[in-house]
Symmetry: C2
Subunit: 141 residues, 2 copies
């Protein structure tokens, strides 16, 4: 039985250190070539979204993330100029000493203190805003 | 630019009334024909997951759900015998007076008091367990 055609499934990962910096990549390819973005990419057939998220982070930053917390599902049909993609976005924490090494689709990978100072690819600024709400809710509880 | 092939995207909806009953359908088609299931289905290209969830609930139960709360993303490659599907599952509330009318893929639609007494399609028992955790966390807060 063939499955119907649906939006393409992606994952994105907000990785924070204890100082509130986030790990961003610079995109090597279009769309948004050269812009900062969250590590992430397309989910492979046969892998869970969590496994896809860990794989993409590993490929683009060389780092391993463990506990993933779901931030949300981002599905605006206009969010990706290539076509309709839907992203499951996760939150992870790493120590500030974690030293990224850019790979795969990432031209660079670095800890960024003030992500609001930069234009971000896709709807990644919205994902980061939502991640901060979760972090702040946790800190205030 | 063609997008890569990824798992097919679906939505499922846990709809509760104030008495803790849940709105389930009986599946008209395989897989799990005749079993109870959450209302849901495949996301169309060009619609958000929230719009897809409301549409599937409308088609299968005749009811309109408004506020949707994300329960989780379910992506085990073995969760659907047709192939790899990934479901964004949402929680909604309706008054007990809401009277469902089965349609589309649903042979029936009814409020069920003890869903644990029935075998459920796919991983819908797990989704219901997770929804109850959210509901109980909210009640205890």
């Amino acid at each position: 039985m063939a499955l119907p055609k649906t939006p393409a499934l992606t994952v994105d990962c907000v990785i924070c250190d204890a100082q509130g910096r986030v790990l961003l990549i610079r995109r090597k390819n279009e769309p948004f070539k050269g812009a900062f973005a969250l590590p992430g990419g397309f989910v492979d057939l046969g892998e869970t979204v969590e496994a896809g998220c860990r794989r993409e982070v590993r490929e683009e930053t060389g780092l391993e993330v463990r506990d993933l917390r779901l931030i949300g599902v981002y599905s605006d049909p206009a969010r990706d100029p290539r076509g309709h993609t839907v992203s499951a976005a996760f939150l992870a924490k790493l120590p500030a000493a974690a030293n990224p090494t850019a790979g795969d689709d990432a031209a660079s990978a670095e800890w960024v203190g003030d992500w609001r100072a930069h234009p971000l690819a896709f709807d990644h600024a919205q994902i980061l805003e939502d991640a901060e709400k979760i972090l702040h809710a946790g800190a205030g509880a």
